[in-house]
C-alpha cells in the first residue's frame, strides 16, 4: 500500500515538474471532446450535462463552447494548473481496510 501511494505521488510530482507530453495532451483532448459528442447521443446525459453546468454557475454558451476551450488548452497550462492545484497538503486519501470494530446494523 505505501508503495502504491508513493508511485501515485511520483506521477503527480512528475507532472508538476515536467508537465505532460504533446501525445498525452492530444489523446486527452480527443477523449474529452469525444465525451461531449457522445453525451449528445444520450438525452439523459445531455440533460445532466446542461443541468450540472447551469446549477454550478455556468451558462448554456459555456457548455456549447466547451470543446473549443478544451481544444485551446496548451501543455504549459496543464503544467501550471498541476502546480497550482495538485498540492499534497490539500489532498485526502481514503483506505478500505478490514474492519476490526464490532458490527452495528445501520438502516437508511
Amino acid at each position: 500500500m505505501p508503495q502504491l501511494e508513493a508511485e501515485a505521488d511520483a506521477v503527480v510530482a512528475q507532472v508538476i515538474a515536467k508537465g505532460v507530453t504533446e501525445d498525452e495532451l492530444e489523446r486527452t483532448k480527443t477523449r474529452l471532446i469525444a465525451d461531449a459528442v457522445y453525451a449528445q447521443d444520450n438525452q439523459a446525459s445531455m440533460a445532466r450535462w446542461y443541468g450540472t453546468a447551469l446549477t454550478t454557475g455556468a451558462s448554456v454558451n459555456d457548455v456549447r463552447h466547451w470543446p473549443d476551450r478544451i481544444r485551446a488548452v496548451t501543455a504549459d497550462q496543464v503544467r501550471d494548473a498541476a502546480r497550482q492545484w495538485l498540492d499534497k497538503r490539500r489532498s485526502v486519501t481514503g483506505y478500505l481496510i478490514k474492519d476490526v470494530s464490532p458490527q452495528v446494523e445501520k438502516r437508511s
Binding site: R27, T30, R31, Y38, D41, N42, Q43, M46
Partner: protein
C-alpha cells in the same frame, strides 16, 4: 394511438435535446459490396457511428472441460492484433476515442463499436484486426486469465453467483447451457492459445453474422466500412450443434449454505420460444407478474405489502435451443421462507386465474409507451436491431410491435399464464435461510 403519441413525444425530445436518437427512425436494409447484409439507421444529429453485431457461436462452443474459452477469447481480442501489441492497440483506441467491446453469451458473441465520424476508418480497421488477426500473445493470455480467475475466486463466496450457477447446472445438466459462460476455476486454466485461435477461426465468419449500424453515415459509406471490418472473414462458420433442451429439476429446491446475512433466491422454469405465437401474450403476463416495474404482483406482495425484499422480479429469457422464465430476489435470512412462499403463491395465483382485464390494459399501455424510452441512444438502438435480426422478427417489427401487443386478449393472457406458470419452478437459495432446506439432500 398510443404509439403515435409516443413517437411525437420522442420527436419533441429530439428537438429539445438536439439529439435524434429516439425520434421516429427509418431502418434500411443495406448490402455491402462483398455481399454482407446489415440494418442501417441514419441519424444525422450527432457526428458519430455506432456498430453492433453478433456472430452465432458463443459459450456453447466451449469444450465441456474448457468452459470459459469463448469468453477468454473475447477478452483478448483487443489485447493485441496484427502488428500491434496489446499496449499499442489500446493506445490506438484511446487516442481516437474509439470504443470497442465484445461480449460472449451462450449462443452468440456480440460486439460493439462507437467512433466519432472523423476516426471511423481507423475504428473499422482496428475491428478488422481484432476479428481476423488477434495475436493471443502468451503474456496477454496469462494476464487476462489471472484477472478472470480472480473474479471467479470472488464469485465462490458471492451468493448471487452461487445461486445462479447452481440453478443453471441443475436445469441443464450435460448441456452447454448448464455451464458458466465465464468458466470455472478448474476449466479456465486448461484453455490454451490454440483453443482461443480455434474458437475465433470457427465462429468469426460471414454466414451467420448480424450487423446493425446507427449514426451519421450513408448506405454506401456504411457498406464500405462493413467490408473493411468483416469482408475478409471466412464465408462459413464451423459450429458444434446444440441440442434443444428444457429445464430439469422443476419443483426442486436447493439450498447452498454460505455465510452471508442475506439469502439470494433464483427461481425459474420452462419459458416460451420467441417465435411462439403466444410469445407476446406471455411477455405481457410476465410483466404483470414480475416484470421490472414497481407495480408487478411480485413487487407489490413481496416488497410493498410485507417488506420482505428490496426487489423481486422475473423475466422471459430465450435462447436458440431453450426458453425460460427466470427470476430472483434477496431477503433477510429469517424471512426467506416467507418470501419464497409469497412468490410461489403469486405464481400459482397467476397460473390459476391469469391477470385481470385492468392489469392487462395497464401492462399493454406501459409496454407500448415505454418501448421508445428504451431506444434513447444509438447504442441501444443498434443493440435492439441486432436482437430483432437474431430473433428473425422482420425489419418492420418496431412498427408492428404495438399492434401485436394490442391483439392479446384476456383469454389469451389466461391461457398463456396457465401454460407458463403451471409447470413448477426450480428454486436455488444461497445463504443461511432459516427454516429452509433443500427438497432433497445436496450438501
Amino acid at each position: 394511438m398510443t404509439r403515435l403519441v409516443a413517437s411525437i413525444l420522442c420527436a419533441a425530445f429530439a428537438v429539445i435535446a438536439g439529439a435524434g436518437a429516439a425520434s421516429a427512425m427509418t431502418i434500411e436494409k443495406i448490402v455491402s459490396p462483398s455481399g454482407i447484409e446489415a440494418w442501417l439507421v441514419r441519424e444525422k444529429a450527432v457526428p458519430l457511428v455506432t456498430l453492433n453485431y453478433a456472430f452465432h457461436g458463443g459459450a456453447t462452443q466451449d469444450e465441456a472441460n474448457k468452459s470459459g474459452t469463448a469468453n477468454l477469447a473475447a477478452d483478448l481480442l483487443d489485447e493485441g492484433a496484427g502488428d500491434l501489441d496489446g499496449k499499442t492497440f489500446h493506445e490506438r483506441l484511446e487516442s481516437h476515442a474509439i470504443e470497442l467491446g465484445f461480449q460472449v453469451g451462450r449462443d452468440y458473441i456480440h460486439g460493439s463499436l462507437r467512433s466519432l465520424n472523423e476516426y471511423r476508418d481507423e475504428a473499422f480497421d482496428l475491428l478488422r484486426l481484432a476479428l481476423s488477426s488477434p495475436r493471443f500473445d502468451a503474456d496477454a493470455i496469462e494476464r487476462i486469465r489471472r484477472q478472470e480467475l480472480a473474479g471467479l475466486q470472488r464469485d465462490t463466496t458471492n451468493p448471487n453467483d452461487l445461486a445462479s450457477r447452481r440453478w443453471w447446472q441443475t436445469a441443464f445438466p450435460d448441456h452447454p447451457y448448464g455451464r458458466e459462460t465465464r468458466g470455472t476455476l478448474e476449466t479456465l486454466p486448461r484453455v490454451t492459445a490454440d483453443d482461443l485461435r480455434s474458437y475465433v477461426r470457427r465462429v468469426f465468419a460471414r454466414n451467420e453474422l448480424k450487423i446493425s449500424i446507427v449514426g451519421d453515415i450513408d448506405a454506401r459509406t456504411a457498406g464500405a466500412l462493413i467490408d473493411r471490418a468483416f469482408g475478409a472473414l471466412p464465408a462459413k462458420n464451423d459450429l458444434k450443434s446444440v441440442a434443444n433442451a428444457t429445464p430439469s429439476g422443476l419443483g426442486r429446491r436447493i439450498v447452498i449454505n454460505v455465510d452471508v446475512p442475506q439469502a439470494v433466491v433464483t427461481f425459474g422454469g420452462q419459458g416460451i420460444a420467441r417465435q411462439d405465437p403466444d410469445f407476446m401474450a406471455a411477455y405481457i403476463v410476465n410483466h404483470i407478474l414480475g416484470g421490472g416495474s414497481f407495480s408487478s404482483r411480485l413487487y407489490r406482495e413481496v416488497r410493498e405489502k410485507r417488506g420482505l425484499a428490496y426487489g423481486v422480479s422475473d423475466s422471459l429469457v430465450w435462447f436458440r435451443s431453450a426458453a425460460l422464465v427466470l427470476g430472483g430476489t434477496a431477503t433477510r435470512a429469517d424471512r426467506t421462507a416467507d418470501a419464497l412462499a409469497v412468490i410461489e403463491q403469486e405464481i400459482k395465483r397467476m397460473a390459476d386465474g391469469g391477470p385481470t382485464p385492468d392489469e392487462l390494459a395497464a401492462a399493454k399501455s406501459f409496454l407500448k409507451g415505454s418501448y421508445a424510452l428504451t431506444l434513447d441512444t444509438s447504442g441501444k438502438i443498434a443493440t435492439q436491431l441486432t436482437q430483432i435480426q437474431i430473433d428473425n422478427l422482420g425489419i418492420d417489427y418496431i412498427q408492428r410491435r404495438g399492434a401485436l401487443i394490442d391483439a392479446v386478449t384476456i383469454d389469451d393472457a389466461k391461457r398463456v399464464a396457465s401454460r407458463l406458470y403451471g409447470g413448477g419452478m426450480l428454486v436455488t437459495v444461497a445463504g443461511r435461510p432459516k427454516g429452509l432446506t433443500s427438497s432433497e439432500s445436496t450438501e
